[in-house]
């Protein structure tokens, strides 16, 4: 079955918080904790948006993104990169690899929700 948002995040507490706020926003959620799992989950579940951490075990977020952009079936998948490494170089890397949005941890919940909504082609919710 298709999910709205796939979250790839290895840090349990952050995963819990993302899961909570995105569910609250009304989307169905699937969560994985490493890069390989993320790639197979994307192929299997065909999420509408991928929220992707960079520092993932087994396969880095950037690598996952590269694979997705190289796959004709997945190329259109909107990807939101989340990272605790906020350096300009990381942002450039993400843009070059084809990330749609780039958010630095720690984030404001509304920022993440807004970005996901935007990526789904919905107008930002007016609070």
């Amino acid at each position: 079955m298709a999910v709205d948002v796939l979250i790839a995040e290895d840090e349990p507490s952050i995963l819990r918080s993302l899961d909570f706020i995105l569910r609250r926003a009304g989307w169905s959620i699937e969560a994985v904790t490493d890069g390989d799992a993320a790639l197979s989950a994307v192929r299997r579940s065909m999420p509408r948006v991928l929220v992707l951490d960079v520092m993932l075990p087994k396969r880095s977020g950037f690598d996952v993104l590269k694979q997705i952009r190289a796959d004709a079936a997945l190329r259109q998948l909107p990807v939101l990169i989340l990272t605790a490494k906020g350096q300009a170089q990381d942002r450039r890397n993400a843009e070059e690899l084809g990330a749609d949005r780039f958010i630095t941890k720690p984030y404001a919940n509304a920022e993440v929700v807004g970005a996901v909504r935007e990526l789904m082609g919905l107008a930002p919710a007016v609070e």
């Binding site: 840090e11 918080s17 520092m55 605790a84 919940n109």
Partner: protein, 891 residues
């Protein structure tokens, strides 16, 4: 009563005394007892041979006629000696190294051992010095006449002998005297200890005599001020003419050149020098001597001019002033002073010239004429040498007398001396170029000296004959063939300046220009280049000897002789097998290549070209050349060593720089890592805080869970900060605990307990291997436990094996306690083995595969263990996995 007979008797007695001094000194020098003779002051006094009768008599005459001008003759040499470090020291050094025996030898050596240049220099020197010798003859003759009263004091006679006859007698006497004095033996180094001692003695005599006259004049004239004011009152104003004009400059230049170029000065200052350091005394002492010599010149001249009858010869004031005052003893002393200035000059000058004449002219001619017959024995050579010296001395004095005879009508002494100065000054450009300019070539030096000589002979030497030759007088007046611009004293139509300035300028100018221009447009021979390098690099390559000149004819025997010495008998024999008669060019070519392999290509070429062009070779010459080559080789090896050292230093610097850059990069990565570590818990805290603040529809359970997460993450953040601070504290030596005896095994137990939960979570095995029953060490239990937890949890976290496994084991032995943590994970890449313990290091590849938190652990752990006097290391393993070992000393 002071009669000529008495004076001559005293003079002969004085000469006898000189002989005695020379004889005793020579004997002592031979027995090595004459340390006194080798003192720098004897050397300085000998250099004072510069002060001849020109100084003794002529300076007063010069001052009376031309005012201060006489001082220029002493200021030029003063400046040269003050600057001894730059020119004289070089001259002495190079001459010692190359065993230079004269100024002709020096220039010939520098310009490729050219015998033609040596002959040219010798001829010019002999002609140029003739006026100077004549000056001495004239001075001695005049002084004898003055004593006899011929001219000034009618009534006294000199047995009817006229001036010319007297001069001839003086010349003959001087020649005999010098021959007896200077050619008793021949020394290879051309050093004459006896002569130097006698010359030094004469220097004292002439100075004492002149000072005595000076003091007498001051006393007789009623003091310095009285003499000067009386002269002023009498209208004798010898300063009114422009003293510091172009003539003053020209005379300073001439005298500075003369102190370097006069053969007798070169002989004493350079050839007779036994120790280079004597120059540092002579550098001030000789100028001081000159100052003393000229101190009373002006008062004597002025007193003479005011107190002597008009028309009295001022050149003889030194003698006539005490005579007219009835001071006969003083007059005799004065005569002896003047006599000693003249004799010392003639002795040294004719010895120096005779060395040049016999070495560069007579000997080569004799050898050629006799085809080497009669000089087979060493005795024959030495007799030939002595005879040619004697002949040369006689010739030089004869030339001096001839010049005196032809120019006897000119009266002043100083202008004659200046003619000689200007003549020898033509060597100056070549000497300076020899010492400082590597590119100066033989052709240039030869033509420059020749050009200078021609200009001098035309404009300075020839005019002195105008009174005796109508032809010369006519040329002086109208120029040759009516060419007015070639008139000797107005060269190129320049009439407005002094004739002396004229000749000094044109001769030295054309000389120098020729030297420079011809050097630029000619090339040097191989030997020239070698010699030029030796001269130019005098102070750069210590101990470099001269490459010897090899003489002989090119037979196979000659070549074999050379080859045998250089290559050794077996190789030479093999090389010469089957070669007989005249060696073919190809063979010489091959031989040169063989020799070049042993002694270098330049030396081999020089050596062979000399042998082939034809001269006999002596064993010493071959050895000397080989020795010189060895020095070149040693020198280049030295250079190589130095540059190798430089290379290794540069490499070390490069390494240090790389290390610094790596540390810098590591530091950046570390900070980025720390930032990541801090941001992760911060993210949860912020996110859950926002949820708690903004969500009203939370269950109590959810609320409870979120607050708990925030709390946990805060704790994690605190611990992280503690780690960073702890490491910083360790860095600065704030250890925060004292070591105490502890049971280390307990720490292992606790660490295993903590980590087994983590291992279970990851579904992996944490095995405990063999354990030491007990191990008491000096340390801190919590820190040791912390280190073990760090090692074990790293091993668990990074282990991606199919069946992950970590083993902890311990053992004791040889006073040490070992704990090992081994895993079967990916291991540590070789390149990172050293880096992982570095302070800011984190595995380079860790950014992708390793979870966060590994960056700080190992650096801190190592520091903690070191604090317990142990060490933490990664065992060098080849198999899969990594094994860390803690080694602690047992109590």
């Amino acid at each position: 009563m002071l009669t000529p007979d008495v004076v001559i008797a005293v003079a002969i007695g004085y000469v006898g005394l000189l002989f005695l001094i020379a004889y005793v000194s020579d004997r002592q020098a031979r027995n090595d007892k004459a340390a006194f003779l080798r003192s720098p002051f004897i050397y300085t006094l000998a250099i004072s041979v510069y002060c001849t009768s020109w100084t003794f008599y002529g300076a007063v005459g010069s001052a009376a006629r031309n005012g201060l001008e006489y001082l220029a003759i002493y200021l030029g040499p003063t400046l040269v000696f003050i600057g001894w470090w730059f020119v004289l020291r070089r001259l002495v050094r190079i001459s010692h190294k190359q065993r230079i025996t004269s100024i002709a030898d020096l220039l010939s050596a520098r310009f490729g051992k050219s015998s033609r240049l040596a002959v040219l220099i010798t001829v010019i020197a002999v002609i140029g010095i003739a006026p100077y010798i004549a000056l001495q003859l004239k001075a001695v003759t005049s002084s004898l006449q003055a004593i006899a009263g011929v001219g000034e004091f009618p009534g006294r006679t000199l047995r009817g002998i006229d001036e010319v006859g007297l001069a001839l007698a003086v010349a003959a006497g001087m020649a005999l005297f010098t021959i007896l004095f200077g050619t008793r033996n021949v020394d290879a180094k051309e050093q004459h200890h006896g002569v130097v001692a006698a010359i030094a003695f004469e220097a004292v005599v002439k100075l004492a005599a002149l000072l005595a006259i000076g003091i007498f004049v001051i006393y007789a004239g009623g003091g310095l001020e009285a003499i000067f004011s009386r002269a002023e009152a009498a209208g004798i104003d010898i300063y009114s003419t422009g003293n510091f004009d172009d003539r003053w400059v020209a005379m300073n230049v001439l005298s500075a050149a003369a102190i370097l170029c006069l053969p007798r000065q070169f002989q004493i200052t350079v050839v007779e020098n036994s120790n280079e350091n004597h120059l540092r005394t002579a550098g001030w002492a000789f100028p001081a001597y000159l100052l003393l010599m000229s101190l009373f010149t002006l008062p004597i001249a002025l007193f003479g001019l005011t107190s002597m009858p008009a028309g009295a010869n001022p050149d003889m004031f030194v003698l006539t002033l005490p005579l007219s005052a009835g001071q006969e003893g003083l007059a005799l002393f004065s005569f002896i002073g003047g006599f000693s200035s003249a004799t010392s000059m003639i002795i040294v000058e004719s010895i120096a010239l005779s060395i040049m004449v016999s070495n560069h002219i007579v000997m080569p001619i004799m050898l050629r004429v006799t085809q080497g017959h009669g000089v087979a024995s060493a005795r024959g050579v030495s007799r030939l040498l002595l005879n040619s010296r004697r002949f040369s001395i006689a010739l030089i004095l004869l030339l001096g007398f001839l010049y005196f005879y032809l120019t006897r009508d000119s009266d002043a002494l100083a202008p004659i001396g200046l003619i000689s100065f200007c003549g020898v000054a033509q060597f100056l450009p070549a000497i300076i170029a020899a010492l400082f300019w590597r590119e100066a070539s033989l052709k240039a030096a030869t033509s420059a000296v020749a050009v200078g000589f021609v200009v001098w002979a035309w404009s300075s030497f020839m005019p002195s004959f105008q009174s005796s030759s109508p032809l010369v007088a006519q040329i002086m007046a109208e120029g040759p063939w009516g060419l007015a611009w070639l008139r000797p004293e107005a060269l190129f139509g320049v009439e407005s300046i002094d004739p002396l300035v004229n000749v000094v300028f044109w001769s030295l100018f054309l000389n120098t220009v020729t030297l420079v221009v011809v050097s630029l447009f000619t090339s040097q021979s191989v030997l020239e280049r070698v010699q030029a390098a030796l001269f130019a690099d005098l102070f750069r390559r210590p101990g470099a000897g001269a490459p010897a000149v090899i003489r002989g004819s090119a037979t196979v025997e000659d070549l074999y002789f050379v080859a045998e010495r250089v290559l050794g008998a077996p190789r030479a024999k093999a090389l010469f097998d089957g070669v007989a008669g005249a060696p073919p060019p190809q063979f010489i070519d091959r031989l040169e290549r063989e020799l070049a392999g042993s002694i270098g290509s330049a030396s081999a070429h020089v050596m062979l070209s000399k042998v082939v062009s034809g001269d006999a070779v002596s064993l010493e010459e071959v050895f000397e050349m080989a020795g010189e080559t060895r020095q070149v080789i040693e020198y280049s090896q030295e250079l190589e060593r130095t540059s190798a050292e430089l290379r290794s230093t540069a490499q070390k610097l490069e390494e240090a720089n790389t290390q610094l850059r790596a540390i810098d990069t590591e530091k950046d990565e570390f900070l980025s890592q720390v930032s990541h570590e801090v941001r992760t818990p911060m993210t949860s805290i912020r996110s859950f805080s926002e949820i708690l603040l903004e969500e009203q529809r939370l269950t109590a359970d959810e609320r409870q869970r979120f607050v708990k997460t925030i709390h946990q993450e805060s704790l994690r953040l605190t611990k992280l900060l503690d780690d960073i601070l702890g490491m910083s504290a360790l860095d600065h030596g704030e250890h925060g605990w004292d070591n105490a005896p502890i049971e280390a095994e307990h720490s292992i137990d606790r660490a295993i307990e903590v980590c087994s939960a983590l291992a279970r979570q990851r579904r992996m095995q944490l095995t405990v291997g063999s354990r030491a029953p007990s191990a008491v060490i000096s340390g801190e239990p919590d820190r040791l436990c912390q280190v073990l937890i760090n090692l074990v949890s790293n091993a668990i976290k990074y282990n991606d094996a199919v069946e992950p496994m970590v083993e902890v084991r311990s053992r004791t032995g040889r006073g040490r306690y070992l704990i090992e943590v081994a895993d079967n994970g990916p291991g540590i890449p070789k390149a990172e083995r050293k880096l992982i313990f570095e302070k800011f290091a984190r595995g380079q590849s860790g950014g992708v595969t390793a979870p966060a938190g590994a960056g700080l652990g190992l650096a801190i752990s190592r520091q903690l263990i070191e604090r317990m006097n142990g060490k933490l290391e990664l065992l060098p393993g080849t198999g899969p996995g990594a094994c860390f070992r803690i080694t602690l000393p047992l109590l």
